[in-house]
Amino acid sequence: MLSYGLRRLGLAAVITALALIILISMIQMIPGDPAAVLLGPLATPETREAFRVQMGLDQPAVVQIARFFGRVLTGDLGTDVLTKRPVLTTVMEQMPFTLWLIFFSIGWSAALGIPLGCWSAISRGSWADRIIGILSVGTIALPSFVVAIYGLLLFSVALGWFPTIGAGEPGDPLDQLWHLVLPSLAVGLGWVGYLARMVRASMLEVLSENHIRMARAFGLKEATITYRYALKIAIIPTVVLLGIGVGNMISGAVFAEIVFARPGVGRLIFDAIATRNYPVVMGGVMITTIFYVLSTLCADLFAAWLDPRVRTSL
């Protein structure tokens, strides 16, 4: 297990470095002059030139990337060119809001999707199975932004149950939770169907295996067979999927943060790209890439712990 963990960790480091180099190179290739965008029309050519030098934009892209990695090694992600605050502070200030949104979304979707998938599998061919199947495909097909906008119109504007904007009153966890409901509905709804379909398929495969038939032959209760023997194995691919899902939800969080005017690292990066605030883009991308790689790493390690066969491959 330790050997597998170390190998997996090494691979994660390589993936992180490669992803960052590709992403940062892409940023450098985007047309548009940050000095013009950030300083606005009133800035003189001299002011713009001074700004380019100050940001290091007068240097070749390779030098800029090398400088960035050099600074990262010392724990410095640079300075936000708009607010002049450290990028690390800016990103870490926004990260908790995104993490809350992601974990809340994945949490409720797993809590609903996994039992629905189990139920669907054990009642295969029944009306319940068909209804869950239709609903699952329906939620997968429904675009998240449609859920977000209709959620806002129905639950905020028409019924007034939930707030439309923001992340809640600082220091009031209940209010913050309340502000999470609609965004997490939008981000997580598709995952309910996705997880239900995934668990159903895994469960059906496991339920047809010999050891399950043997358990039935021994006269064990159906509930015991389902939850103690079948689900334990069937859940493994779902756990891996959840790891990837957590990382993927960062991109899903961007639209939720914009539509619901929530703070968050997705919106931060989105705004920073629009204003060509490169240090924030690079710092934000780095932190989210690391988060993504770590979440998939944790999922892989957890899967390896559950199923030793996984450890034989990288």
Partner: protein, 517 residues
């Protein structure tokens, strides 16, 4: 286990209680006692130093936390009013005398002095500071301090725009000399000291900025105890937040204005104000075939402006007659060239292009700009011109005409653009001079007469003469063939019927002037 067993009745009861609290909680959390004003800003603040502010979100905050000698007043006509001065008087074309009101005090306890005024204005000219807004004070020679409260602003030459831009907007805000110098001569989002009707109580990036009433303000105080400014990028989200009661004030998207005119938001009101901004279609004179005057004139005649505006603004915007909006000095009564497709075809034939030609229309990827470009594209197709629309994100679009930012400027044919504006004509005309070619003059129109007029009009003190000069400049622009003036747009504002907003003629909010209805 038996002790914790949940009966069906208990479960139903718990669910009902949870449902009830779900329904009640937000109302408790969002309940207001009328002391807090919640408003939308289109973005978060980025820098509160008057010399380096980046847009309206900063201006809207600075107006509340820094005093100025004068400010633009609310209403439907552009006129300045005293802010923290009891006297502000132009004694001759190059001297403006001022006296600050008594009792003005910075948040660090220091008094606001004439020396602070001197420091605040003269620092714009400090070459080391590289102030982005130094143009606002380009005519300033120095500020003479007479005593603690009085002084004289001495100009190098007469400069009328000072009264419409420099003195009354962000560049006219006074900052504390001692505290700012102690911070190295400039600051970002943490002002060294504040003095206004409000002060910043809390700033949570990307969440909100809270302004609290300043109990030490010697003038008329603000009506609300706190003002919560929420950065909401998306206009539609702002509208929904207004409808649900989460905010009391927002700008509306242009596309929503007709709908709200028919059905105002529940518990809210809307107002539509004329914008100062100007939207125009420009042609690059150095790009073939627009280097031929006949081709440019053909395009001018090919564009049916009312139809373009109907498509882009749903009837909420009216056609423009130049760069300068109605109500401002320099506003032109009418255009010279209008929609006439037959004439357009004639001019194309004169240019030897009776079979039409291919070109591009460059635009920012905003909904109304895209719709306008599509309507223009249809107009051009009617006379045989086949245009392709190229959309850019804001980061790219604002640099396409800049020679130092790449090579896109070489490929610009037609572009539809929008510039924002302040209530002085010079703010609109500055960008089309020969010196601006390769920077903001994307049409690459080189007219020395226009450039000269622009310089002279800035220092002309005779209002009638100044008006005529700006009218002439717009005539020159249209005669060149490179410009089709489209619209000044319209500004939609939605607000709760529980408040009475204080708005400048173009809808710019003066938050400290908002009152309960």
């Amino acid at each position: 286990m038996l002790g914790t067993k949940l009966t069906r009745r208990q479960a139903l009861g718990a669910m009902a209680a949870a449902g009830l609290s779900a329904g009640l909680y937000p109302k408790v959390a969002l309940s207001q006692d009328g002391k807090i004003l919640k408003v939308r800003s289109y973005g978060d603040i980025t820098g509160l130093d008057p010399a380096f502010r980046s847009g309206a979100p900063e201006d809207d905050v600075m107006r509340n936390i820094f005093p100025g000698l004068a400010t633009m007043g609310p209403g439907t006509e552009w006129k300045w009013q005293l802010d923290s001065a009891v006297k502000l008087e132009q004694t001759d074309p190059t001297h403006i005398a001022f006296t600050l009101m008594d009792g003005l005090k910075w948040s660090d306890g220091e008094p606001v002095t004439a020396d602070d005024v001197k420091y605040s204005f003269e620092r714009f000219l400090d070459p080391k500071l590289e102030a982005v807004y130094k143009g606002d004070w380009e005519a300033l020679d120095h500020v003479e301090v007479i005593d603690e409260k009085s002084g004289v602003i001495v100009l190098k030459e007469a400069f009328p725009p000072l009264w419409n831009v420099g003195l009354v907007y962000g560049s006219g805000r006074i900052i504390p000399r001692k505290a700012t110098e102690a911070m190295g001569g400039r600051f970002e989002n943490t002002p060294p000291a504040q003095c206004g009707r409000y002060f910043i109580k809390e700033w949570l990036p990307k969440q909100r900025l809270v302004l609290a009433k300043n109990p030490d303000w010697p003038g008329e105080p603000g009506a609300f105890e706190e003002i919560h400014i929420r950065p909401i990028d998306d206009e539609k989200t702002g509208e929904l937040a207004l409808e649900s009661g989460d905010i009391d004030y927002t700008w509306l998207s242009v596309s929503s204005i007709p709908r709200y005119r028919q059905t105002p938001p529940k518990g809210g009101k809307i107002e539509v104000r004329p914008s100062l901004a100007y939207v125009w279609l420009g042609m690059n004179q150095e790009m073939k075939p627009f280097d031929q005057p006949e081709v440019r004139r053909a395009v001018q005649h090919a564009i049916d402006v009312p139809t373009v505006l109907e498509a882009a603004y749903f009837g909420a915007a009216t056609p423009a007659t130049g760069l300068i909006a109605p109500g401002l000095l320099g506003h032109r009564a009418k255009n010279i060239y209008g929609y006439d497709p037959d004439k357009a075809r004639e001019f194309l034939a004169q240019a030897g292009l009776q079979g039409g030609f291919e070109c591009t229309i460059d635009i920012l990827n905003k909904a109304e700009r895209i719709a306008a470009a599509q309507a223009v594209q249809a107009n051009l197709a009617e006379v045989g011109i086949n245009a392709t629309i190229r959309q850019y994100d804001s980061g790219t679009f604002w640099t396409i005409g800049d020679e130092k930012a790449g090579d896109i400027w070489k490929t610009i044919g037609i572009q539809i653009n929008r510039f924002s504006m302040q209530p002085d004509p010079s703010f609109a005309t500055d960008w089309f001079t020969p010196e601006q070619i390769g920077i903001w003059n994307w049409e690459r129109w080189n007219n020395p007469e226009y450039g000269e007029l622009n310089k002279k009009a800035k220092v002309e003190t005779d209002t009638a003469k100044r008006h005529d000069m700006y009218v002439k400049m717009q005539d020159l622009m249209e005669e060149s063939g490179s410009y089709v003036f489209l619209t000044h747009e319209a500004v939609g504002i939605g607000y709760s019927d529980k408040i009475a907003p204080a708005l400048m003629p173009n809808g710019t909010p003066i938050f400290y002037g908002f009152k309960p209805a």
